[in-house]
């Protein structure tokens, strides 16, 4: 390898093998959304028939976008800002925009992991009693009126601190010894634990009722636009594409690695896990419906309601309730931690590249403020409202917008997709044709723009969940706009003289010829 690039990569760190990279990327993609979002989205949007729009979305938008991130990170070998900067001098702001989004997500994502960790313990003695909903908002979160307060809840704050300590230790250990090693342990544990959960769920009375509800096809749904939107949205949100994670991880892989083959493994592993989650969750919901003498429709839900209200109710009734609880909430914790690690790494990697900081220094410079903000905003009686608003807006008007902007900019403004296609094909086991450029230049942005416009109109017509306007304007719209502005401001900061800002691939080839 060339001396210039070798020096740079020695400083940044790298995964020791493609296998470690794939496991880390799967760890990032498989998160809470796979477990608590996919099953309900599939159920609500055609059941068994949903597999068709879901596959179309995976093949025409999800995987092509994943390969775009891989191509960008792998060719330009940097964090999101550095990779965009190396792709084009004017593109750096897109990278910092993604970094800002990741910082925001990390702040609230840690809180959900902390709740799940606490619930794993609660499930041993079923601490929520006969009223899981009352317990969640009353005894556990002690949720007051919507707002931003400083009344800390020890049951949330203590596990939140522990989550941040664990994550910071992983980050400080570095790319291979921290992220890579954690992924090597956590991903097999996650799959084994979740398979265990599915096996237990399938033995419950009424499991087949739940599976019947999930998989019975409603072919008429395929004619509805909303079903196709749901499929593209699910694929997009579950693959961790478009906000810097896969760019960062791809920059840590060997220069001559097969990125297209790796992308297929990550994409299908992510979707395969979603299917597994659907089977486990709906088998359990079928049991719950049967036990309550009602229909699956009455008990099916998603998100926080599924995890912290429906599952505790299932655990109360199921023969092996405590085991189900530990496996379910343990899976949430593991899936959440591997995703949180990838989200915060986007920020750490960017700070390291820009300021040429040490791994430990950058981990602390990013992680400590993130942890403090997280504890102050989310560890309180108003934390659940902050989380709900920030999550809703940053996903839609942060991730979706930056994803569309990046795809369009790379395709039509900076015109780098042809180069990236050549790069992917050089060592890729799966050939990427010209169609890939059309998919990421037209099809994927069109689908995502459609979703975005729909969301924009919905949120303007009806204030989200009826929260106070000032909260929506600051934590919602305001934050989504702030990350854009701060991102493009950050891009104006100068790079260190020693940072190589050219195309590392061209430099490497030059050095190979001259050596």
């Amino acid at each position: 390898m060339s001396s210039t690039i070798e020096h740079s990569e020695e400083h940044r760190g790298a995964f020791s093998s493609r296998k470690v990279f794939i496991l880390a990327a799967i760890g990032s993609a498989v998160g809470l959304g796979n477990i608590w979002r996919f099953p309900y989205v599939a159920y609500e949007n055609g059941g068994g028939a949903f597999i068709i729009p879901y596959l179309v979305a995976l093949l025409t938008a999800g995987l092509p976008f994943l390969l775009l991130d891989y191509g960008l990170g792998h060719r330009y070998r940097g964090s999101a800002p550095l990779a965009f900067r190396r792709a084009h001098g004017a593109a750096e702001g897109l990278g910092w925009w993604q970094v800002g989004i990741c910082f925001v997500i990390a702040v609230y994502y840690a809180a959900v992991i902390a709740w799940a960790a606490r619930y794993a313990l609660f499930s041993i003695d079923k601490a929520w009693g006969d009223d899981p909903e009352g317990f969640l908002f009353g005894s556990y979160l002690q949720a007051g009126d919507p707002g931003v307060g400083l009344d800390f809840v020890s049951g949330v704050t203590v596990p939140l601190v522990l989550v941040w300590v664990a994550v910071l230790v992983i980050m400080a250990l570095g790319v291979q010894k921290g992220i890579g090693a954690a992924s090597m342990v956590f991903i097999p544990v996650l799959f084994i634990a979740f398979i265990g959960l599915v096996v237990v769920a399938l033995t419950l009375d009424g499991a087949s009722v739940g599976l019947d509800a999930l998989f019975t096809p409603d072919w008429g749904a395929l004619g509805e636009t909303s079903v196709w939107i749901a499929a593209f949205g699910q694929i997009f949100f579950s693959l961790s594409v478009g906000f810097g994670i896969m760019i960062t991880y791809a920059s840590y892989v060997g220069r001559r690695s097969d990125m297209t083959g790796s992308g297929l493994v990550v994409g299908f592993a992510n979707s395969g896990f979603e299917l597994l989650a659907g089977i486990g969750v709906f088998a359990a919901l079928g049991f719950m419906a049967t036990a309550a003498g009602t229909t699956v429709d009455e008990v099916a839900t998603d998100g926080l309601g599924l995890a912290f209200i429906a599952f505790p109710a299932i655990i109360n009734e199921a023969p092996a309730g405590a085991l189900i609880g530990v496996l379910f909430f343990g899976s949430l914790v593991v899936a959440g931690v591997t995703s949180l690690v990838s989200v915060i790494e986007v920020v750490i990697s960017a700070v390291r590249d820009k300021f040429e900081m040490s791994r430990v220094g950058a981990s602390m410079a990013v992680g400590v403020p993130a942890a403090l903000i997280s504890i102050i905003l989310l560890g309180t009686t108003t934390g659940v409202y902050v989380l709900d608003i920030v999550d809703h807006f940053i996903n839609r008007f942060g991730i979706l917008v930056v994803a569309v902007a990046s795809m369009l900019a790379l395709s039509w403004v900076f015109r780098r997709t042809s180069l990236l296609r050549e790069h992917l094909n050089r060592d890729g086991s799966v050939h990427v044709g010209i169609w890939w450029q059309w998919l990421i230049g037209l099809v994927a942005p069109a689908a995502l723009t459609f979703i975005l416009v729909n969301e924009f109109i919905n949120n303007l017509q009806e204030p989200y969940e009826g929260y106070p306007t000032w909260m929506l304007n600051t934590l919602g719209w305001g934050l989504a706009v702030a990350v854009v502005l701060l991102g493009f401001l950050a891009a104006r900061m100068p790079w260190r003289d020693s940072t190589f800002l050219g195309d590392p691939e061209i430099q490497a080839q030059k050095d190979e010829r001259s050596s």
């Binding site: 760190g13 068994g48 597999i51 998989f215 892989v253 083959g261 395969g272």
Partner: protein, 42 residues
């Protein structure tokens, strides 16, 4: 479970888990190059 639900479940399993198996088979067949050294992170 109804026959239609069973068939759709089997199709989903075949496509997604089969796709994963094929992807893993493909990547093992085509090994590419691994990094020459484990990078020391500074």
């Amino acid at each position: 479970m109804s026959t239609a639900a069973i068939i759709m479940m089997l199709i989903a399993m075949t496509v997604l888990w089969g796709g994963l198996a094929l992807a893993i088979w493909n990547i093992n067949r085509y090994r590419g190059e691994e990094p020459e050294i484990v990078q020391r992170e500074l």
